[in-house]
């Protein structure tokens, strides 16, 4: 979906972010210091940079000053207010503090990409095409009727594809924090989506966790 540059000197975390972003279909490049990040940015075009603040030689802020045109999410273990304010006031698009959750990372990346990418947001899988801007779903270019909740659930599943989402998390993401309902609601909606899209095999039930939309990477 998007081409993302990950600038993080901790190999383990760099690798982790890369793996997570690849799950939902992003194309990632890992670099481990500011200098290679800058040369990488000169030779390639990226949709988003995930930039650690504490980097060897020149820190994330210094790197950011030189690449201001590319959307950036700052990443750091320091959660001090001054750092957050500094990052955002410099024009960063978002801020992520370690330790972070996979879903948080993906949600923020998704949000920034939607804000910054102007072209039509579509997702295609087999015969199914989902248009996120017009909130429409097509099978073989035939419009399928979806309720707003069904569409929202579909959107969450697509955005977090290849990741198992618990029923609680789905409730939270689709219905909102304050929804007081049965997690069976999720099961009912999932069944409906499977039937409507013919995704019985793609939306998998993950044992003891929840559901996962599996898409070949």
């Amino acid at each position: 979906m998007a081409v993302i540059l990950i600038v993080e000197d901790e190999i383990a975390i760099n690798e982790l972010i890369k793996k997570n972003l690849q799950l939902v279909g992003h194309q990632c490049t890992s670099v481990f210091n500011g200098e290679t990040a800058l040369s990488e940015l000169k030779s390639h075009i990226y949709d988003l940079i995930i930039l650690d603040i504490m980097l060897p030689e020149q820190d994330g802020f210094e790197v950011f000053e030189k690449v201001q045109t590319t959307p950036t999410i700052f990443l750091t273990a320091r959660n001090s207010l001054s750092d957050r304010v500094k990052g955002l006031s410099m024009g960063a698009d978002d801020y992520l503090t370690k330790p972070f959750e996979m879903l948080e990372l993906l949600a923020r990346v998704e949000a920034v990409l939607r804000r910054t990418q102007k072209n039509n947001q579509c997702f295609e899988l087999g015969d199914v095409r989902i248009d996120f801007d017009s909130h429409q779903v097509f099978i073989m270019e035939q419009l399928i009727e979806c309720t707003p909740k069904e569409f929202k659930l579909l959107e969450v599943l697509v955005n977090n594809r290849n990741i198992a989402l618990s029923r609680e998390r789905l409730l939270e993401l689709v219905w909102g924090y304050d929804y007081i309902g049965d997690s069976r609601t999720i099961d009912v909606h999932i069944q409906k989506l499977r039937k409507k899209l013919g995704w019985e095999k793609l939306i998998k039930t993950v044992y003891k966790i929840g559901y996962r939309l599996e898409v070949n990477q």
Partner: protein, 464 residues
């Protein structure tokens, strides 16, 4: 305080000064009156005795006293010519003769019967008189002679003098008030300066000092005030540095902890939620394991650091060569990996200290030296005797660092690079532990280095 002192001093002065004037004038007044009284009594006595003699003479001639009174009193006529005094003669209650025109006397002026004379003062029409009345001696004791003496002038002159005194007093008091005010201002000026300065210091201007001049009590007070301000400033600075160091430590510690925890949690979540290949799973698990190991090492080293400060160390004679051999053995694989050339040289037989601590000290220092080296580097450890002190030097020909940085490298979690990169591994506590070990052995740890010229770590033992 200033005005209270001024008021107290001023009022006290006013009180005693006026009291003094009052006493003086009172004494003078008494004295004046006494003089007037004595003089009147003397005059009265003189006249009385003269008149009695005259009475005898008249009686012996056989003439009537009362008829010749006029001529008798002729010599005392001068009394009526001046206004100061006058004479009056009574026979029983009857006035027989008077030198003054008006009668000033009241009936109450009857002298006592026993022949004493009565002295009294009387004020009439703003004039004061001393009145002496006394009977003539027998056989003429039915005559009473009254002598009047006008003391108004003396009293007036006394009053004048009294007024002058009070006027002079008033002038002096005014002058004193000004003088006192000036003096107090001068005395209290340093005090108000101190007030001002201490307010400034309290408001945060710790560099403010009093100007000290002279050698009196105030100058001494200013000096100790400045000393106090200096001490407070110094201690404030120390506290601030300590607080900053602590904050730095906490920040760094949070970072050191967050990074592996982020990785552990992230990979665990990845394992739980993603559909994975076996390769992916294995790499995620190995990341979880290595990052857990890192947290474990960190917690162990923090414990070591904490324990080092409290635990008792075992003082034993350690053989230097054996110590070096075991250090080399521990780092054997790292030395081989980087193909480091090592040299051990010792001119000391033994060092007193804790075996495991000393080993860990030299292992740490040598490990750092190896990390600083490129492939085929050279690390040299020497134990020498300099000025009677045992010194162990660990020298490498690695990348070195600037002398300013060497000051901080024993701070916990300090990293030469701004980033807290873990490329070389380690937790950033190694040199802090070294420093603690060295301190527990009453030794000193010095680093001599220049960028590109390698580094010498010197452990200087003083009591071992």
């Amino acid at each position: 305080m200033k005005y209270r002192t001024f008021l107290t001093t001023f009022l006290l002065f006013l009180f005693f000064f006026n009291l003094g004037i009052l006493i003086i004038t009172y004494v003078m007044f008494k004295d004046t009156l006494r003089q007037a009284e004595e003089r009147s009594l003397a005059e009265h006595y003189m006249i009385t005795s003269a008149i009695v003699k005259d009475f005898y003479a008249i009686e012996s001639r056989g003439s009537d006293i009362e008829e010749s009174v006029d001529s008798l009193f002729q010599p005392y006529r001068y009394f009526s010519s001046n206004t100061e005094s006058s004479l009056v003669l009574y026979k029983e209650e009857q006035q027989v003769y008077s030198t003054s025109k008006e009668t000033l006397l009241s009936k109450s002026l009857k002298p006592p019967k026993d022949g004493n004379r009565l002295v009294s003062f009387q004020e009439t029409d703003n004039r004061t008189y001393v009145i002496v009345s006394g009977k003539l001696p027998s056989p003429y004791d039915f005559y009473t002679l009254v002598y009047l003496f006008d003391t108004t002038d003396t009293i007036t002159s006394w009053a004048k003098m009294k007024n002058t005194l009070f006027l002079v007093g008033l002038t002096l008091v005014t002058l004193l008030a000004f003088g006192l005010l000036l003096l107090l201002n001068r005395i209290f000026k340093p005090l108000s300066q101190i007030t001002q300065t201490s307010r400034e210091i309290a408001a945060g201007a710790y560099e403010t000092r009093l100007s000290v001049s002279g050698n009196d009590e105030l100058a001494k007070m200013s000096q100790s005030f400045n000393y106090m301000a200096e001490e407070i400033h110094r201690q404030m600075k120390e506290l601030i540095t300590a607080a900053e160091k602590k904050q730095q430590f906490i920040d760094n510690f949070a970072h050191e902890l967050h990074t592996p925890l982020t990785a552990i949690y992230g990979y665990a979540e990845y394992l739980q939620k993603a559909a994975l290949t076996d390769d992916d799973r294995l790499s995620a698990i190995s990341y979880i394991m290595s990052e857990s190991k890192r947290v474990q090492t960190l917690s162990n080293q923090l414990l070591d650091l904490a324990n080092l400060k409290n635990d008792q160390i075992v003082w034993e004679e350690q053989n230097v060569n054996e110590l070096f051999q075991s250090v080399k053995q521990t780092l054997h694989s790292k030395i081989r990996k980087k193909k480091i050339k090592t040299d051990f040289y010792s001119e000391i037989d033994g060092i007193k200290g804790d075996a495991s601590l000393l080993k860990s000290l030299f292992v740490n220092l040598m490990d750092n030296a190896i990390k600083a080296c490129e492939m085929d580097g050279h690390v040299m450890i020497r134990a020498v005797l300099e000025d009677g002190k045992k010194i162990v030097c660990i020298q490498d020909n690695g990348k070195g660092m600037s002398p300013e940085i060497t000051e901080y490298i024993t701070e916990p979690f300090y990293r030469v690079e701004k980033s807290r990169s873990r490329k070389d591994g380690g937790t950033g506590l190694g040199l802090s532990i070294c420093k603690q070990i060295v301190l527990r052995h009453n030794a000193d740890l010095e680093f001599i280095s220049h960028p590109g010229k390698g580094m010498i770590a010197k452990v200087i033992f003083t009591t071992s």
